[in-house]
Amino acid sequence: MSFAQQFPIVFNALNVGFLQTLKLFFVTLLGALPLGLLLALGEMSRDKILRALIKVLVWIIRGSPLMIQLLIVYYGPGLLASRITAEAAANNAFLAFIRSCRWSGGESGRFAAASFAFIINYACYFCEIFRGGIQGIPVGQEEAGLVLGMTGRQIFFKVKLLQMVKAILPPISNEIITLVKDTSLARIIVLEEVIWAGQAFLKGSHGISGAIWPLFFTAVYYLVANGLLTVGLAKLEKKLSYFR
């Protein structure tokens, strides 16, 4: 088959794969941003135990490779469940619950597991960024608001929020760009994202086999996505550059 004949076939297959990549990307952002904020607030709370728990979680998640986390999240529950016999589960509600904790089969199960691992992982990175952003605002801003008779709410929304957004936008942008590329790690649990789709043409798929160019071509998808994101995020940063 000539390249011109191969191209439309490959292009269609890669598009399908990239759709899965994008889905994972957006689901991760949607889950990790709010969860990261919650973790950040928890890390600043007065509850010592909560603070310690979050610190340990952040250490584990940021200190170990996302690839390992994906493997543990995807295969761990199944391995654990297989250790529990049906008799043991029948007598113990907790064991029964553990035994029932498995990802469903097929692509939807892999997607759910990947989303879970990515959301937790990115939430921990976002948590540290949010905390830095909140704590980085000088106390003088809060005190100025207080002596002007503002409420805590008003100070947060009218004074601090925008300064915080401005401060965290560059590090968050970095993480977002990294996330686009990190989604390819889900290949390790055979999520059918764009790299998986490209690789399929090596072994043989859609009547094409031994072709390596589709795998290389997947890089174009990441480049285009990150190019668009970079432009968009830079625009946002520029919008906030009217103050310092």
């Binding site: 003088g140 207080l146 002596v147 002007l148 009217y242």
Partner: protein
């Protein structure tokens, strides 16, 4: 009748006694300057008046109203939050480091608090445009008084330190506090910029604004004030007519302190 009466204020941070039995009073329209070496508790005193710190003991009274009686137990948190907000508005505070809101223009910095307050009034919806217009005009008026009529739409980072501090003074005046407090308003400024800020404060004194001014500018403290307090290690060491205190200090510590300033 005094506008402000402070009685037996005491405040510790952990083991350190920072304010020890502070009492003084002010008449309406009076300017009081507070001098004293670093760490003597001047900032802490202003912060107590503005409810940024809570004294351990003592009473703060504005006109007839007891704003704070530290001996009495706290009310429930929610109620006292609302009350503290209201009580705070008797005082204004100008910080050493301005603490302007960077994302707002000079004018917005001045009008923000007044707008937020107006929004809480029951007739806000009907008279919104009218009210906003009045608040805006008030803000512009205050900034003109500070000599900043051509700087209203600039953001803080576009202004010099002296201009920032004048915006901060206008902002503190916007809610018409009974007593305006200054915490070393010129300490963060380059020497050539202190003049414009001191001039503005002098102007306020001439218009009989009730003010408490913590400052290291001795000449200014003497000239602008009707009363001066010298603080030392959390106590009021000497107090009185500024010409008297500066020319003939009675206490040994005051003499030493002032002598150090004459040397510089």
């Amino acid at each position: 009748m005094p506008i402000l009466q402070v009685e037996n204020i005491r405040k510790s941070f952990g083991q350190t006694l920072v304010l020890d039995d502070i009492s003084f009073s002010m008449e309406p329209g009076e300017a009081l300057s507070i001098i004293g070496s670093s760490g003597s508790g001047k900032t802490t005193l202003l912060r107590c008046l503005n409810f940024l710190e809570r004294p351990d003991e003592g009473i703060i009274r504005v006109r007839d109203e007891v704003l704070l009686d530290a001996g009495k137990a706290n009310k429930s948190d929610k109620a006292s939050n609302q009350e503290i907000r209201r009580k705070r508005l008797h005082f204004g505070l100008v910080f050493q480091s301005f603490n302007l809101f960077p994302q707002y223009t000079a004018l917005q910095n001045v009008t923000l608090a007044e707008e937020l307050l107006a929004k809480e009034a029951p007739d806000w919806k009907e008279n919104k445009t009218e009210k906003l217009k009045r608040i805006r005009e008030h803000g512009m008026e205050l900034l003109s008084e500070m000599g900043l009529s051509n700087r209203m739409d600039n953001y803080p980072h576009q202004l010099s330190g002296g201009q920032c501090q004048r915006v901060a003074i206008a902002r503190a005046l916007a809610l018409r506090p009974d007593i305006l407090c200054f915490d070393e308003p010129t300490s963060a400024l380059d020497p050539e910029l202190t003049g414009e800020v001191l001039r503005v404060i002098r102007g306020l004194a001439e218009r009989s604004t009730t003010m408490i001014i913590v400052t290291h500018e001795m000449g200014f403290a003497r000239d602008v004030a009707d009363q001066v307090i010298f603080m030392d290690e959390g106590c009021i060491c000497e107090q009185g007519d500024p010409r008297e205190v500066f020319a003939h200090p009675k206490q040994e510590r005051t003499k030493q302190f002032l002598a150090r300033y004459h040397e510089n």
